[in-house]
């Protein structure tokens, strides 16, 4: 028995060793990318320069405007959302891009499909295999930083971007300078994000009318309204599980804002459990829960389908969503409740008396991008040229709308109206080719403000409900003065990256526990939960951030 066991073990070891060598050899091993932790000011000068915004005319950069001497292939990532009958790698528009851009400069543009719901895994696998595209992208900063931490991105030279992509750089210069640096080097560039105000909260206007009230102007009035609804047997105020994107506490924050305090606590990816606004928010939620004002099973509403179910079936009277012209929620609501009427809930209704309707200002950028660490200098130049080409208004407009007269017509004010039911060769993707032009801008824009507003109405309002977007816009303009952007640290806060997933899970458990506790015990339960939260890694985060703030490493 012992002998065969020995034979067995040695056999296994041998096999593992052989297999390991076989699979490891031939694999390109990159030398470690520098993960510098210096905190010097971001470099603005390039290699051969004296550090001034000096004149540049090809000093150090090769001019490829007549094309590359040898064909260069660039691999551009594009989200694959599995739209029916749509091949993201090969369609009318990829061909158009190749002929209008690629052929002109002797560049082959290859599109690499990235699954929208599996993008991090896709990127990880491709990076491990060395087959990742030339652009590494993501919508969220924490994940983009994670890519940076893995060594996936290379250092950028802003002057180079300016040289090859002047239009693009003119649009994005301030954004890149402000947000693109990590640990003293530039790694990220961005797509523009125009203003959007289609995140709306719908409320059952017919229920408000039925209990003889008016649109609530603050939290107290909202709670009274909900109580009236409950007494009239109409329904509750909805509710869902807050899982990420932590913006719940904005209505409870003090105004004006203390810059340092905001930098310390306000974080989209980690809930500020121990902060006073969170305490106030939870206390209110606890009150609402214990008095039956919100959905007693709000924590089961973990995705849009379950939250929408409550609203559409008539159980709840409040529901938030990104409204678009194809949203079916109102239609579904009417089928189940023919007498329903909806309005936009004034954002003021969530604000306790004495505070102002604060909200988070969006980053000025949409897509966050980095250049693959293994991309060569020529490929990189070609990428900049691609961005430059796409930033030209006529190219962008074509990608967003298609050929004029075929896929759209311009109405009398110059707005592009899509031809209904067009099914020809030049068909755009289900999201208007967004996944191609999202590299430069997040939504379609017109230069003329009025035209832009009209276009937004068309895109965001379901037919017959333009008033919803109009109201949303009205509130947006009114409360714009209270929108503040998150602080962005110029160093990577390691403890956030390490702890955020854990803390997110813990947040969900703890906050639900606090909300569901009896009112008399709320303070006690909150204290216990706060301690647990701190011990699980939040204290670490606070400490690291405090140090960074004291050294002024944020903006």
């Amino acid at each position: 028995m012992k002998k065969s066991l020995f034979k067995l073990t040695s056999f296994i070891m041998a096999m593992l060793l052989i297999m390991g060598l076989v699979s490891a050899c031939g694999k390109k091993e990159e030398p470690t990318d520098s993960n510098k932790t210096s905190t010097t000011a971001p470099k603005k000068d390039d290699k051969g320069d004296s550090g001034e915004d000096s004149t540049k005319d090809g000093g150090g950069y090769t001019d490829y405007s007549n094309g590359f001497p040898e064909n260069v292939t660039i691999q551009i990532p594009v989200y694959d959302r599995a739209f029916e009958n749509w091949d993201v790698k090969d369609n009318y528009y990829t061909k158009w891009i190749q002929s209008e851009f690629g052929d002109k400069y002797n560049i082959t543009v290859e599109f690499i499909a990235i699954g929208r719901s599996t993008e991090v895994q896709d990127y990880t696998q491709m990076l491990a295999a060395g087959t990742a595209p030339d652009i590494i992208f993501h919508y969220d900063m924490p994940q983009a930083l994670a890519y940076y931490n893995e060594g996936a991105t290379q250092v950028l030279d802003l002057k180079e971007i300016e040289y090859y992509a002047p239009t693009y750089y003119a649009n994005m210069k301030s954004t890149i300078e402000q947000y693109g640096a990590v640990n003293g080097e530039y790694h990220f560039f961005f797509a523009e994000r125009p203003e959007a105000y289609n995140w709306v909260t719908l409320i059952r206007q017919d229920w408000i009318d039925k209990v003889g009230k008016t649109m609530p102007q603050n939290l107290t009035e909202l709670n009274e309204l909900l109580k009236a609804w409950k007494e009239a047997g109409l329904g509750n105020g909805g509710g869902n599980l807050v899982m990420n994107n932590f913006t719940y506490d904005y209505p409870f924050r003090p105004w004006p804002i203390d810059r340092n305090e905001r930098a310390l606590y306000s974080d989209l990816s980690v809930a500020a459990f121990t902060w006073q606004p969170t305490y106030d928010y939870l206390k209110n939620l606890n009150y609402q829960y214990n008095n039956g004002l919100i959905d007693s099973e709000f924590y089961l509403n973990t995705d849009d389908a379950t939250t929408q179910a409550d609203f559409v079936s008539g159980n709840s009277g409040i529901y938030s969503l990104y409204l678009s012209k194809n949203s079916t929620v109102i239609e579904n609501l009417l089928i189940n409740n023919p007498e329903a009427k909806v309005s936009i809930l004034d954002p003021k209704a969530f604000v306790p008396e004495g505070k102002v309707p604060q909200s988070r200002a969006y980053w000025p950028f949409g897509m966050i991008m980095g250049i693959n660490h293994s991309t060569s200098a020529e490929e990189r130049a070609a990428v900049w040229m691609y961005l430059e080409w796409m930033s030209q208004p006529e190219n962008l407009f074509f990608l967003q709308n298609g050929p004029e007269g075929e896929t759209y017509t311009k109405n009398e004010v110059g707005l592009a109206i899509p031809v209904a039911g067009y099914d020809g060769e030049a068909r755009l993707s289900n999201n208007m080719n967004k996944d191609y032009w999202c590299l430069v801008i997040e939504s379609a824009q017109y230069d003329d403000l009025q035209l832009n507003y009209q276009a937004n109405l068309n895109n965001w309002a379901p037919a017959g409900y333009e008033y919803l977007i109009e109201d949303a816009y009205k509130y947006y303009e009114e409360y714009r003065q209270y929108m503040t952007p998150d602080a962005l640290f110029t160093v990577v806060i390691e403890s956030v990256a390490n702890n955020k997933a854990e803390l997110n899970d813990l947040w969900q458990e703890l906050y639900v526990k606090c909300v569901m506790a009896p009112e008399a015990e709320f303070d006690k339960v909150y204290q216990e939960c706060a301690e647990e939260y701190l011990a699980a890694g939040y204290q670490e985060i606070l400490d690291e951030k405090t140090e960074a703030i004291e050294n002024g490493l944020f903006n």
Binding site: M15, L16, M19, G20, V22, S23, A24, K27, E29, E30, P31, T32, D33, V120, Q121, T124, L127, A128, A146, N149, E150, G151, A152, L241, S296, E297, Y299, L300, T302, N315, H373, A501, D505, Q508, E509, V512, K513, M516
Partner: protein, 314 residues
């Protein structure tokens, strides 16, 4: 050729390696392709387990990442949540095994007793339908039916005058519901292998039993069960090996954030650190831990089975 004493103390000729290959070359040939598949597709990637001992960074790759020895494991074992996950995993899987292992056997025997061919065929097919439902669907359905405030079953109970039951929203209730739903999902499919095994039992044995005056129950006890014993033992050993494993989906589909006492399991940890958190070293290390436990369990139960007279797995 050597001369050695074998176990009985008799002098025998010890045959060399080549002798056996020559004798059974056909059997070894049959094994060639399977072994090749196993080597390439299973043992090849196993090299990746090495990142359990490294601080894995994607770009540095498997070889380039820094070696950290047992640091990753230390970090995992020091985390209180890990041991809670172990306890939960064993609890959930253990209970599911106890409740769920006999069910397919019982069902298979019951089905076997059926006379009507049509009823038998239809019932069999219907029984394994749950196997085809994805857990996402089962989870959504479970809450629609068993939800405390609004579930159809609870509405029905209340209509009858009873009080609502928090099937999925109280820790111990959740535990029972979880086990029952799991058993429900797997039992029908499990009957297939037992039905196949039952049909392998020599009918002459049944005839002999009838002659001896055995009733239906006795026949089951003395003919059917012993006849499928080896299948039962094999499946039992393999399932015991999985007691530290399980899938992430089944727990995730049925859990909610208000009822968390038993819902953090090892597969959930692996999913969170591996997929959500991109901590690949950690998730691989936890996976390695699971694998080692599984191996020990399988070898152990196999030993026990052999001692009890079974053929065992190996």
């Amino acid at each position: 050729m050597k001369m050695v004493k074998n176990d009985a103390g008799v002098l025998k000729v010890r045959k060399g390696f080549l002798y056996y290959i020559k004798k059974d070359w056909q059997l070894y040939t049959l094994l060639l392709l399977p072994i090749l598949f196993a080597l390439v597709f299973k043992y090849g990637p196993m090299f990746g387990l090495i990142i359990s001992f490294k601080d894995y960074k994607i770009i540095k790759g498997f070889l380039g990442s820094k070696w950290v020895g047992f640091d990753v494991f230390k970090k995992i074992f020091e985390d209180k949540k890990f041991w809670e996950a172990c306890r939960n995993t064993l609890l959930l899987n253990g209970l599911t095994l106890v409740a769920g292992f006999p069910m397919p056997i019982i069902l298979a025997i019951l089905l076997n007793e059926l006379k009507g061919k049509y009823f038998k065929k239809v019932t069999q097919t219907v029984l394994y339908l749950p196997h085809f439902l994805s857990w996402v669907v089962i989870g959504a359905l479970a809450y629609q039916l068993f939800g405390y405030a609004d579930g159809a079953i609870n509405n029905f109970i209340e209509d009858l005058g009873g009080s609502r039951i928090p099937f999925l929203q109280e820790d111990y209730h959740w535990l029972v519901s979880y086990v029952l739903i799991n058993v429900w999902q797997t039992m029908g499919w499990g009957t297939i292998i037992y039905l196949a095994a039952i049909s392998n039992v020599n009918p002459e044995l049944y005839e002999a039993a009838t002659v001896d005056g055995a009733g239906r129950f006795a026949k089951i006890k003395y003919v059917t069960l012993p006849g499928i014993r080896s299948t039962i033992v094999t499946l039992l050993i393999m399932q015991l090996g999985r007691i530290m494993g399980g899938s992430f989906e089944t727990v995730d589909a049925l859990s909610n954030v208000a009822t968390t006492k038993f819902t953090r399991t090892i597969p959930v940890l692996v999913y969170r650190s591996g997929i959500l958190n991109a901590k690949y070293s950690e998730s691989t290390a936890i996976g390695l831990f699971q694998s080692v436990i599984a191996l020990i369990l399988v070898l152990g139960t196999d030993r026990i089975a052999k001692k009890l007279g079974e053929d065992g797995l190996i």
